[in-house]
């Protein structure tokens, strides 16, 4: 592990040249998998993620069915080679927690009553991890759900805000996360309803307020990117 750099922010610029309220570069591709009902590949800086959606489909075993609505399952998984030290394949406590809160981040926008007795599976594979992977997973899943034609009230957009060198900043890198003082992943709908909120580290009440404002800005920008990706996909389909 590299040592902590002296300063993570100098003259308002971060180590990668970004301003404090700037997202890392984003790359997005919709419908990249043949077998999945919906899919999305998304990069946010050094974080590379694939999301796939299967369903609505039958639930096995049957006693897991719910009579009035669809069940949502979400599996966040890190590829063994996505981090510096090889990760043993399979779930750990961290991925179990992330899967739970990510599922809860998406459930509010899915019209669950449309598909009773069924299940929608959302699978997220982290191919390369450089902080913010859960937010990228949620963003990509949201697009993959739309790509799969799942009826939704809207798109969920997610980003992380943190504190670095005492300053509230948008979208931490891995290095900023390691040496920073706070990290707050958040997800919201375009109407400004919060669907995911986690925080650890140290925020004064004022910093918290500032962080929420930054998060709104970040999510809005991500929403535009998600929306454009979906529009391009449909235009692409129509042009063919």
């Amino acid at each position: 592990m590299s040592n902590k750099p002296k300063k993570l922010i100098e003259k308002g610029k971060r180590l990668d040249g970004r301003k404090v309220d700037e997202l890392r570069p984003i790359k997005i591709e919709v419908g990249i998998l043949k077998r999945a009902d919906g899919s999305c590949y998304m990069e946010l800086g050094g974080s590379k993620v694939i999301a796939a959606v299967y369903g609505p489909r039958a639930v096995h075993p049957r006693h897991l069915q719910e009579a009035t609505q669809v069940i949502i399952r979400y599996r966040y998984d890190m590829a063994s080679f996505s981090v510096k030290e090889r990760k043993r394949p399979g779930p750990d406590r961290r991925s179990i927690e992330i899967s739970k809160v990510s599922r809860e981040a998406l459930e509010p926008v899915i019209l669950k009553e449309y598909f009773p007795r069924s299940v929608i599976d959302i699978f997220v594979e982290i191919l390369q991890a450089d902080a913010g992977t859960r937010t990228v997973g949620i963003n990509a899943s949201s697009v993959a759900l739309a790509d799969a034609g799942i009826p939704m009230r809207g798109i969920v957009s997610s980003c992380a805000v943190g504190k670095v060198d005492g300053e509230v900043v948008l979208d931490l890198t891995g290095e900023e996360d390691n040496y920073g003082e706070a990290d707050m992943p958040i997800a919201m709908t375009q109407e400004g309803k919060i669907t995911l909120l986690q925080m650890d580290g140290n925020f004064t009440k004022e910093e918290f307020t500032r962080a929420i404002e930054l998060a709104k800005k970040g999510c809005k920008e991500i929403y535009e990117i998600q929306r454009n990706a979906l529009i391009s996909k449909y235009e692409g389909v129509n042009n063919v």
């Binding site: 927690e97 739970k100 919060i194 909120l197 650890d200 004064t204 009440k205």
Partner: protein, 260 residues
């Protein structure tokens, strides 16, 4: 009557009360059930506490043992938090490894202790790069009547305050108390049909669309936050909650942690 119908009736009843500013057990929206904390109850543990909030009951045992440091923090001890939903505590708890709720609970309690800086991890170093103390925080839920998060977090910090380094057993000198720097307190709120209540009971939790825990330290800053549940939250609600948790946390900290 089937369970579903009872649940439906209970739900309506709680909703209707909430609309009138009331709760089933007569509490105010920001009022906690009775809290009890008892420490030093397990001789085989390095520290222990039982925390009760109403009928909710958890027991926390702290075990310490020497171990190897992580390569990237050669001079720091390790905290390992585990939550067991013992099947004695609820008809819905089943024997087996922690499920996603127990895992989430353990990780939030863990971050609360860790991120508040309650323990100076460098004080847990025995020999840099070679030996450190591993502090195991094991939470056993004994009776589940809602708000496990606050009870577990309270039990954890109370047990840590009660903990001694078992130096003698490992021939490292005399036993000595674990130094605790901060006293994080978790306050949990639930949203029921637009209203925000604190310390939800199990019945209230079961109909709440969303639940949010905020952990604050002695200086009133936020040390942790976790939203769970499938309902969304507005920014107004969020700021309202962050306003009311501070005072409540201060009260609990003073009454149950700073006296000991």
């Amino acid at each position: 009557m089937s369970d579903d119908i009872i649940a439906e009736i209970k739900r309506d009843y709680i909703y209707n009360l909430a609309k009138k500013g009331k709760r089933v057990d007569g509490r105010a929206f920001d009022e906690y059930r009775q809290i009890e904390v008892e420490t030093g109850i397990i001789d085989s543990a390095e520290g222990s506490a039982k925390a009760k909030i109403g009928d909710t009951q958890v027991i926390v045992g702290i075990k310490m043992q020497p171990g190897k440091p992580f390569p990237d923090t050669p001079d720091q001890g390790a905290i390992i938090t585990n939550v067991e939903f013992a099947p004695i505590a609820s008809p819905s708890f089943e024997p087996g490894p922690p499920n996603e709720n127990a895992t989430e609970l353990a990780r939030v309690v863990d971050r609360g202790v860790r991120e508040s800086g309650a323990i100076d991890l460098s004080k847990l170093c025995i020999k840099e790069g070679e030996d450190i103390w591993m502090v195991f925080i094991d939470v056993y839920v004994l009776d589940h009547d809602g708000n496990l998060m606050d009870a577990s977090a309270l039990g954890a910090i109370a047990a840590l305050l009660n903990t001694n380094f078992p130096n003698e057993r490992y021939e490292l000198g005399k036993d000595a108390p674990l130094p605790i720097i901060d006293l994080p307190v978790a306050i949990t709120a639930a949203e029921i049909d637009g209203e925000i209540i604190l310390d939800p009971s199990l019945d209230e939790e079961s109909i709440a669309s969303t639940i949010i825990t905020m952990i604050t330290g002695k200086d009133d800053s936020l040390a942790g936050m976790q939203k769970s549940g499938t309902g969304p939250l507005t920014f107004d609600q969020l700021f309202h909650i962050s306003d009311i948790v501070s005072k409540k946390a201060k009260d609990i900290r003073k009454k149950y942690l700073e006296t000991s």
